[in-house]
Assembly symmetry: C2
Homo-oligomer: 250 residues x 2
């Protein structure tokens, strides 16, 4: 495990709390989703059926998350130490409350989530009816997952997956992936020599007609820029062009 | 359904393609995830067991997506019309290929996805072994879902959920949610009168001690600013203060 991975578990206190979940399979799928994103704390308020084989089966490699889950008799018990409580929903609720879309969390909220002094609880409601108004009113803020007007009811483990994914992205700065190559990328000079070589061959082949030659040259140039060939690939292409020239000069 | 919703289905041609999926329940959960995010096209390359009751059961309100799914005998058949092919993985693959994390898609890639002339296919591999090297090499780019080094194996429907969520966010501009209130927010003047009123009451109560009064005033001011009360709430607070004054003046 990379050192950076430990940040999410050790530096932050973030608990995903499921309220009165009906299907134990969903609890298992939530445990897996949380662990996939590097989090560890699962809370269950009055689960209908837990512990249960089906939950363990669906959790796959996240059985430890289920073993360590906190089981609460009430939401108040679950939230007793919380300093930041967030409620989640996919639908628009009638109750007026500070709200944000999950992908548009503003700087104030973001700073609050990043504050390592906070104990953060994120609430997920029942499969059929979500969070009650009373539960929603215990939240500092509501997080809304953007979704289709036509069909807005997400599976609870999918809601947990999206929220844990967004929180991971917020708290960890993953380095962007480089375009990997076995050999060094070609330099601009390599590409220019390649294009000159190509141009020469096309002239020798009488490929250009007078009206369109500049446009064709521009397109070939753009193609090479887009392709970003490495040095080996440039070598192969130039070998190919040399071969053509040898045949023309015979 | 809002007009903006139709954009995803009608203006863009984006197909989520599952390759040799083993569990029909996962196919159903993928259909639901796609529909939740406003997409409609599901492709299945050699599904192990489909059509199947379990798939329909898990799809909940997305049975139409399953009815309309394209079933292919080979990946080549599925990709025959594709102009942009994207492969997904949670793990780092050994094969060097242009790659991006799902949450760090750059402008070039983003413009490519937004280009309505493209027929985009997004590939999801088998539950146990993902996409083969041969399949990965059919892609223009690989999308990697950031996840824990400790446990990187996402359920396929959760991977579909994250990708469809990111694509929705990329293609639709959801308006940010306002802090909703039944009544108008208070003005700065309302707040100033409230603070003056409070200050007067606190003086009458001999609440302030000489050393800390300014600090207490500043903190109360900050609290009101943070709370951003609406006109009704200001009214309630001022009524409360008036009540205290009445008692003091008795």
């Amino acid at each position: 495990m990379a050192h950076s991975e430990l940040i999410l578990k050790e530096d932050y206190d973030i608990e995903f709390i499921l309220i009165e979940t009906s299907h134990p399979g969903n609890i298992g799928a939530c445990a897996r989703a949380i662990k996939n994103m590097g989090f560890a704390k699962l809370g269950l308020v009055n689960p209908k059926n837990f512990p249960c084989d089906e939950a363990y089966h669906r959790s796959k490699g996240a059985k430890d998350i289920l073993d360590d889950a906190n089981i609460y008799k009430s939401l108040d018990e679950a939230l007793s130490e919380a300093t930041l409580v967030l409620g989640t929903s996919a639908r628009e609720r009638s109750i007026p409350w500070p709200s944000s879309y999950t992908h548009l969390i503003d700087e104030d909220m973001s700073n609050d989530i990043k504050d390592k002094n906070n104990k953060i609880c994120i609430l997920f409601g029942r499969e059929d009816s979500g969070l009650s108004n009373d539960e929603l009113q215990k939240c500092h803020m509501h997080l809304r997952i953007p979704c289709s007007d036509e069909y807005s009811s997400l599976n609870i483990s999918h809601a947990v997956q999206i929220i844990s994914y967004e929180f991971r992205n917020l708290l960890m700065r993953e380095e962007s992936i480089e375009v990997k190559s076995d050999v060094p990328l070609s330099t601009d000079a390599d590409n220019e020599f390649l294009l000159e070589h190509l141009d020469k061959v096309l002239l020798d082949l009488n490929f250009y007609d007078q009206n369109s030659s500049r446009q064709v040259q521009a397109r070939l140039k753009r193609l090479i820029k887009k392709a970003r060939p490495d040095k080996l690939e440039v070598g192969i292409l130039r070998g190919f062009l040399t071969k053509i020239q040898e045949i023309l000069n015979k």
